[in-house]
Amino acid sequence: MDLKELYRDVIVDHNKHPRNFGKIDHADAHADGHNPLCGDQLTVTVKLDGDVISDVKFEGSGCAISTASASLMTEAVHGKSKQQFNSLHDQVHDMLTRHDSTIDPMSLGKLGALSGVREFPARVKCASLCWHTLQAALQNQNQLVSTE
């Protein structure tokens, strides 16, 4: 178990300086996520241009993994359609949870930095919370997402 695999430079950087941190006024969609186990909570707000994510922000409090994952996500999904987001969501989920994942982390760009998480089963939910939350927001289920 190599911690450097978990806390890669990209992750440490995005935790210290989260991108797109905050709240969009008059957002088209939003959802709250909560991980009762560790108290992580975040709110995702989205601006849509038709079917395309034209802006997305997150705020809340969480560990380095959950903050970095959310920060990386907001960068990665900019300009993506809902369908493209769903496909990315599934790839990230696969990479985070499956030891036999066939997803090449390199193909996901910076998001590939999250691949170390799967070696730390207790931390997978930290990384996946923001993704579930954004998915809920896009499906217009402005409800609370819980990892439990």
Binding site: M1, L6, Y7, T67, F120, R123
Partner: protein, 420 residues
Amino acid sequence: MNAPLKSSALAAKVGDVDVITIRRDFPILNQQINGHTLAYLDNAASAQHPQSVIDAISRYYQHDHANVHRGVHTLSQRATEQYEGAREVVRQFINASSSKEIIFTRGTTEAINLVAESFVRPRVKPGNEILISALEHHANIVPWQHVCKYTGAILKIIPITEQGEVDFAAFEQMIGSRTKLLALTHVSNALGTIVPVEKFISVAKRLGVPVLLDGAQAVPHSSVDVQKLDCDFYCFSAHKLCGPTGIGVLYGREKILNAMPPWQGGGDMILTVSFEKTTYNQLPWKFEAGTPHIAGAIGMAAAIRYLQALNMNHIAAYESQLLHYATEQLQRISGLRIIGTATHKAAVVSFVMQGIHPHDLGTILDSQGIAIRTGHHCAMPVMTFFKIPATARASFAFYNTFAEIDQLVAALHSAREMLM
């Protein structure tokens, strides 16, 4: 600031016994975790077992197991003798006046629920009040919320101070003729605060208010005398006492227990059953429906004997040295803030580090063999009070060493380097 204490200069002894010797009694401690010697600092969540407890349980299963209270055959008699013998060990441990006052439960949580359902719920009316503190574990909050929901009673919360102490002045204002129960933690699991329960009890007694104490964190670290405390109920779990999970104790005053209706129905808690009328068994069995956790009770008794051989006062004295050393060392780490600074504390240090979430600390420490708890510690209202989502908590037992605290401090420094 005084010159820092050095762990190497401190004698790790419980009474006359070297902690190194004590550690040999705990096989689980002797292992590597992620390539490092295990430092188990999560004792407030659950403590480890000495070989004598493991042996008592396996001896019971190998030689003596049968159901209790129901057979004339030899094994059933042996099992019954050991199970009831365990009750006597517990009685003496907390100095109850009779073993009828010792009810075996699944743990603290079930003990509190028993009192909530069988004692409080039938007695309260809309507008009556149940008084707890803001320091409580969820186990001493949620059962009362249930009672209130079904009866119209009101749950009142005694506030805590910035130090994490229960506000006695506020308590004196809040308790009154409407109060039907005071349910208070003896020692806080989240912060380590030792609540001066005697003061609270004496006010409650003056007003005729029954008192329940949640002793889950107190019993492992001090000698508890329920008669001297003069409380009506006292609850604790074996697994925090180096005993097994799934077993714990409700102590209740005999007179009160006698007047309470049974909680659960079934075998063992009855004398006779017909479809017209069932008569209930006497104390303590009236409250022990069904086949109990026999091995659990036997294991708990073995754990108590082990602790008594070391002496609870010696254990408390050594743990307080550990607390003192840990507090001093941790305070030197820049950006670290200890949450809970009560004058009297059990060996628990809850803390947060600027810029590092407790959850990350937990992972980084684990990679260096150190087990601590991170999260809300089943005390979310305490976290809310301090406006933090979670803390990291190191909690010590008499088998921990000063060197393990050094290991913790070094790991916290490495966490800073890694994440800051």
